[in-house]
């Protein structure tokens, strides 16, 4: 984690998201997550209630074993924290990583 230089106004944002794609947070979605997180300067931490990991590290994100339905807490700290949270929320819940949800999969 890089210490932010803007310690005076440290923005902290949190959101709870639910994994919606049927296959869960396997490596490809985890990489998408890390890619999006890395577009922002803020620190991103992700928790499944048991483990807290660095949302910018693919190895650590792969440790979450977030299956479909799992709720994750995303915490962003830094000047662009709100933008990061919005983008990550959209990726996980809005786009569900461009993968089918269980219902969509059932239709195939």
């Amino acid at each position: 984690m890089q210490p932010g230089e803007d310690t005076l106004e440290k923005v902290v944002c949190e959101a709870e998201v639910q994994i919606k794609n049927a296959d869960g947070l396997h490596m490809r979605p985890a990489m998408q997550f890390v890619d999006v997180a890395n577009q922002f300067d803020c620190d991103v931490t992700v928790s499944n209630g048991e483990t807290n990991v660095d949302g910018k590290s693919i190895m650590q994100m792969s440790m979450l074993a977030a299956t479909c339905g799992t709720k994750l807490k995303i915490k962003a700290e830094g000047a662009d924290a709100q933008q990061a949270i919005n983008a990550l929320q959209e990726l996980v819940e809005g786009k569900h990583f461009d993968e089918p949800t269980p219902t969509e999969q059932g239709k195939n």
């Binding site: 049927a22 296959d23 869960g24 947070l25 396997h26 490596m27 490809r28 990489m31 048991e50 693919i58 190895m59 650590q60 792969s62 440790m63 979450l64 074993a65 977030a66 299956t67 479909c68 339905g69």
Partner: protein, 165 residues
Amino acid sequence: MDDFVEHKMKFVDFVCFKAIIPELKSRNRDDVIAELVSALDKAGRLGNGNCEEITKAVIKREDEASTGMGKGVAVPHVKHQVVKDVVAAIGQSSTGIDFSALDKQPVYSVILIISPVDEPDKHLQAMENVFKHLQQDRFRKFLRQSREPDQIEDLLREADESPSW
């Protein structure tokens, strides 16, 4: 997809100890994948699956995005109907292999994982286990130093028993 946590997978649950190769003969990514698939096949873990076809599927997945996650390790994987449970082979290369890893560094430890098509949660649990341990510098170091399949098996069993690994 039942309850919460507590269906954690351990190495002994999915690593095929007969498919551990302390020194891979292959020197490039595709050959390494083929060597590990063949090791699983020889160990009888791929049923009547076609090695060549499975190898191709793993390579295709690898071409989409490298599973070389940095720190000298790669975790090539694919879902395939020949397996009913997650099964993994492990290979080591002292010379290092170009896996187009994220950190552009050579890969010394390769864990090949074949997962069933319809059990995404098991795949995630196996991955969780793998990365939990690969995160640890000490674990990676011991893995790289192992020269015998037995040493690797001992290391994995020890890792299963002690959360600090």
